[in-house]
Symmetry: C2
Subunit: 342 residues, 2 copies
């Protein structure tokens, strides 16, 4: 016990445009004490897996884009899977496995441990708690079931469909008896959509001259539900293809995060003409549903009825590159960084 080194990934400054590795700095000289001070109500954790998520880009701006902005000079914050090393909080004890918000470093002091989820099921891969059993899984669940209220036989479109969230939305849609089509940015991802996640159809948006025409091809009768991860011109094309009373869960708009000025969407009148509903959501507002979600999804995982693809990067020092890769679509599936395996 006592003082140990605690390598960190620090945000250099607020980021403009496309994020670069040099926007983050590896600080190898930080240290931490492995014992909490007497009377602390915090929890000290050892970080095992880091979750790379598109919304983190927003926190790298001065306004935070709806989230708490990160602090330049301080470690990046993000979701992690971690092991409790010391606890001043009655709900946690040494050795507990948890997931929740901490920092990109080897050890983190979590001052609000009530935000952490205790990991109950360890007969699934532990890294799943950065994805299917963590924030991404809950995002797919809330956006699809709660916001979109799918009915059997409806037509569903998912953008960024091979990502951490999209791969699950497609599988949930099939379990709900829907017709589902996904878009992604490489042939490899399109193949995964069709052959692994059970998407009825999939296309590579980079190969389409005309997104509107592509959607018409796959949805001659229109789209009932759009799970929105992309925004901009994709949203505009989708609106043109929505059916009456269509629903849009606005989960994210990754195409817009690195732009100074967002792309204009010119056909919003269709909201009136088609009686559309679009609802933005942030998963943090819905975590009370987490027990209900795990009750549903853990049996599906164990029975092999649902699968999950992770893109695993080894080493905290490689976390900046992994995060940045999200914005060029480099990752195939959920982007995870392994800091330590136990």
């Amino acid at each position: 016990m006592g003082e140990v080194k605690n390598t960190q990934i620090v945000l250099k400054d607020y980021v403009k445009g496309f994020p670069k590795e040099s926007d983050m700095i590896l600080n190898a000289s930080a240290t931490t004490n492995l014992k909490l001070p007497q009377g602390s109500t915090a929890v000290l954790v050892k970080n095992l897996y880091l979750s790379c998520d598109p919304y983190m880009r927003l926190r790298m701006t001065e306004t935070g884009g709806g989230f708490q902005p990160l602090t330049p000079g301080s470690p990046i914050e993000g979701y992690v899977v971690a092991k409790v090393i010391d606890s001043g909080h009655p709900n946690f004890k040494k050795g507990d496995l948890v997931w929740g918000m901490a920092r990109w470093e080897e050890y983190s002091v979590v001052d609000a441990p009530e935000t952490l989820f205790k990991i109950q099921h360890t007969d699934v891969p532990l890294s799943y708690y950065t994805g299917i059993l963590g924030m991404a899984g809950m995002t797919a669940y809330v956006g699809f079931y709660e916001i979109c209220a799918p009915k059997k036989g409806e037509s569903v479109f998912v953008s960024a469909a091979a990502g951490a969230v999209g791969q699950l939305v497609g599988q949930f849609a099939k379990l709900s008896g829907c017709y589902v089509v996904g878009s992604a940015g490489t042939k490899e991802k399109v193949d995964l959509l069709k052959n692994k996640y059970g998407y009825d159809e999939a296309f590579n948006y980079r190969e389409e001259q005309d997104l509107n025409a592509a959607l018409k091809r796959y949805f001659p009768d229109g789209i009932d539900i759009y799970f929105e991860n992309v925004g901009g011109k994709m949203l505009e094309a989708v609106l043109s293809n929505m059916r009456l009373n269509g629903r849009i869960a606005a989960c994210g708009m990754i195409s817009q995060y690195n732009l100074e000025q967002g792309e204009g969407v010119c056909n919003l009148f269709l909201f009136v003409a088609k009686r559309l509903r679009m609802q933005g959501f942030i998963v943090g507002d819905h975590y009370h549903l987490y027990p209900k979600y795990t009750e549903m999804v853990i049996p599906l995982i164990k029975q092999g009825k649902i699968c999950y693809t992770e893109d695993v990067t080894e080493g905290l020092e490689n976390a900046p590159a992994a995060l940045i890769g999200l914005f060029s679509g480099k990752n195939v599936g959920k982007q995870v960084v392994v800091v330590a395996r136990e």
Copy 2:
């Protein structure tokens, strides 16, 4: 009885850009029989008041913009208040007063009389059934109460606030204990908003260099509810000023109806960041609520707790100019055309 003249206003051709009087033709040579043929299940009505409504512009296009397109060469269709002259339908008899969809002509045969509403209360101005007691009133009611689900103390913004619908939304908002601000396009309308309809504040959007700044002035803590009648850059400015969990009822987007290409809205990402919900609606889907609405609103009218401004144009021949005036904001309040008074 027998054959009489039946002057009509006919749509010349589909309309592009800003509508002109010459897009409609007065046909003074049409005639009608004042007796329905034996065995008809239709209703023959004498039209008293015509309702001029922005959505009618959409029906003048080939696609209809979400509505049934009008037929060039045939009379304009629209909401009317009318008196039954002859009826082949068991629910209607000669002398009944009705409101609903007919045509811009002196007499109309309504082939689907089940779409007509029988007027039960005649101790209010009959023309109100083109407005507060007709489609416009129901639109305000459904959009505000059903779609926006207002809570006491919330902040409400209404665009086109002095129009047929907007003047009611503001009054409903005050009855619900909300803070409400409206925008309109003339000083006269702004005065009406503040001094007649009880809006807390109002502004002339034509005098604002920066809509975003104008909204910030009236909503330093943001907008909970936006009743959207305008679209385009107004919607963009509103999105920038919405509060977390804000709701938008997309009732219409009059600024966009005469454009070949809609204005781009560049900040839709705020749907995610602020967990916004926008829902388009068309009042026709909600007419089952009409009895509930009249039960609420008729006592309010009689008690003087709600008022309604009409802009009355005399004569069927002046209907085209009245309709076109909507798009330059010429009308003050609900635009009605008197064809006959009884």
